[in-house]
Symmetry: C2
Subunit: 168 residues, 2 copies
């Protein structure tokens, strides 16, 4: 069976997206590493915790919102715990569960780090676009996520839930 290749337009768009997939996370990682000694994954988890009223989340929920596997979440939180930014508690309702809790130091870290991170996101993602393009992007990516994560196991679910806030 003859495989269906991409048309030149499709190919060009895909190559650009592929470049974005490498360069954008790398750029954000670099900024966080330099300014806050944090991994992008580590920062994201701290940020997710900081948005909760109790500043805590179940490991599984944290993993989902960070688009990470349970294993990755476990390793990342272990490192943040060693840095004193997070601590773990056994979960009351379910003895198997663990609660990742932001420490005061962790909260301070987020407060200190978030502006620089948001600034970089703005520079790289928001500001380059013309009015209207952000909404286009949102719609396009939403469609891709429908296929990538049809069960909405990952961050998508957090969107539906949290949107009212302007930033936690």
């Amino acid at each position: 069976m003859e495989p269906r290749w991409l048309t030149p337009d499709q190919r060009r768009a895909w190559l650009r997206v592929a470049a974005l997939l490498e360069l954008l996370p790398a750029a954000l990682d670099t900024q966080l590493q330099r300014d806050a000694d944090l991994t992008l994954a580590g920062y994201v988890m701290l940020a997710m915790l900081s948005e909760q009223p109790e500043r805590s989340l179940r490991m599984s929920e944290l993993a989902a919102r960070s688009n990470a596997s349970p294993s990755r979440a476990s390793h990342v939180i272990a490192k943040l715990e060693k840095q004193g930014l997070v601590r773990r508690e056994r979960c009351a309702e379910d003895g198997r569960g663990q609660l990742a809790v932001l420490t005061d130091a962790g909260w301070e870290k987020v407060v200190a780090t978030a502006p620089g991170h948001v600034q970089r996101v703005r520079e790289l993602v928001v500001d380059p676009l013309e009015p209207g393009q952000l909404a286009q992007l949102d719609a396009i990516v939403a469609r891709m996520l429908d296929v990538l994560d049809p069960e909405a196991r990952y961050a998508t679910t957090a969107l539906a839930r949290d949107i009212p806030a302007s930033q936690g």
Copy 2:
């Protein structure tokens, strides 16, 4: 100074993009790992080589087209060489340079693997979009890449070179 946070719309779009940044590479990696015992990075490099008339590229050029650092390219090619898919030659015009050359086995690997990979890209990126959205995506990502890679050191250059595009 009061930091400028993201508006709810901006935040929603960004969270979706962040999810895409994790899930899309992971999905492609999974497919390649399962069907071809290849890393996404490894496959990309093989594919780049396969598109050259001589089936070879300078390491630096290969790294650029794969959006990888020189170091990463070196490690990945080292592994592909161990697998017999690529070999290295000293470069004739410049004694410091190395040429990564696709072996026959490497060529066969690409031929066998490409259809399944392209199929997956199609499923995840091309097919979910409505007519017109692909062009929008291309334009949007192009703007981001202008900021991420202003010198056009990475894959962008390959686009300008290989594709007489319909878009500025």
